[in-house]
Symmetry: C2
Subunit: 173 residues, 2 copies
């Protein structure tokens, strides 16, 4: 995608009340919207699935299977797809564990509690390795993002509750 | 925004695995992502806040206060903002009532249970009128969208429960 003739400026389109990025060449209005990340805390017995990132950001650090929701996909389907892509894991979604708002980067995360249907997992193209960890085996000092820590903490709080209200956290909290 | 020179075609950018809309003039890649709608079932005593739409689609039909989450906004803040914009209502958010996936139009809705801080409400610019309705007074045959009906039904199911798992529904269900 080299040799582009891109030039956007901030303008307020007609019938809008906010500035948007508008292409100076073609007039295309790039409406920016928050993005949805879907993921899971997925368990086999008392072990939690984690993936060591093979891509930036935070390459080499451990994360939960999670990624951007695609067009025309439900959040539960997206969480299952990400677990398959990153860890070749097959999930059964239980319930919504938490919603996290990373307002700095306009991201809303929907993290589900899930069960692995089998303990067979292996690294997909975005993972260096994947593993099933007991609580005390989790590499706490090598977690990729604050929301991974939040998810694990909220999973621990609610793991014996069949029904609970999803936890909420924001980077502004 | 007349006189545009817009022309997009579906191409697969380098290092991508899906076709995207790419501007033929400037090479801009329009990554399309699902959009987040935030809203609420907001009550004052045994009455529910509804808004009669002053804009398309479904002008003249009744809806819950809801709309697109803005950049750098948490879902709870967005739900409060929409209630203010559409009904001049001040809310206290209780908990997440439901998540709805409208996969046909790539929309994820996060609907909260909320309490009005005062019963004073009035129509904002996107509403013809607003009102507080007891259950039996709800204009069931004049609701704007299926998700409004889902929200009311799920509110009714959970209204006496201090803790519950958010309901989930999809247009594919």
């Amino acid at each position: 995608m080299s040799g582009l003739n891109q030039s956007f400026s901030r303008q307020t389109p007609e019938e809008d009340d906010q500035q948007r990025l508008v292409c100076n060449h073609c007039g295309f209005v790039n409406y920016e919207n928050p993005k949805i990340v879907v993921g899971s805390v997925a368990t086999w017995e008392d072990q939690i699935l984690l993936c060591k990132r093979a891509i930036e950001p935070r390459i080499g650090y451990w994360t939960l299977p999670a990624g951007y929701l695609e067009q025309h996909e439900s959040p539960q389907c997206g969480a299952r797809r990400e677990a398959w892509e990153e860890a070749r894991a097959q999930l059964e979604i239980d319930q919504l564990l938490a919603t996290y708002a990373i307002t700095r980067i306009s991201q809303v995360q929907l993290i589900y509690r899930a069960r692995l249907q089998t303990p067979e997992v292996s690294a997909g193209p975005e993972s260096q390795e994947v593993g099933l960890f007991k609580w005390e085996e989790i590499p706490w000092d090598k977690l990729a993002f604050p929301s991974v820590l939040w998810s694990l903490k909220h999973f621990r709080e609610t793991k014996d509750q069949p029904v609970f209200a999803p936890r909420q956290q924001s980077d502004a909290d």
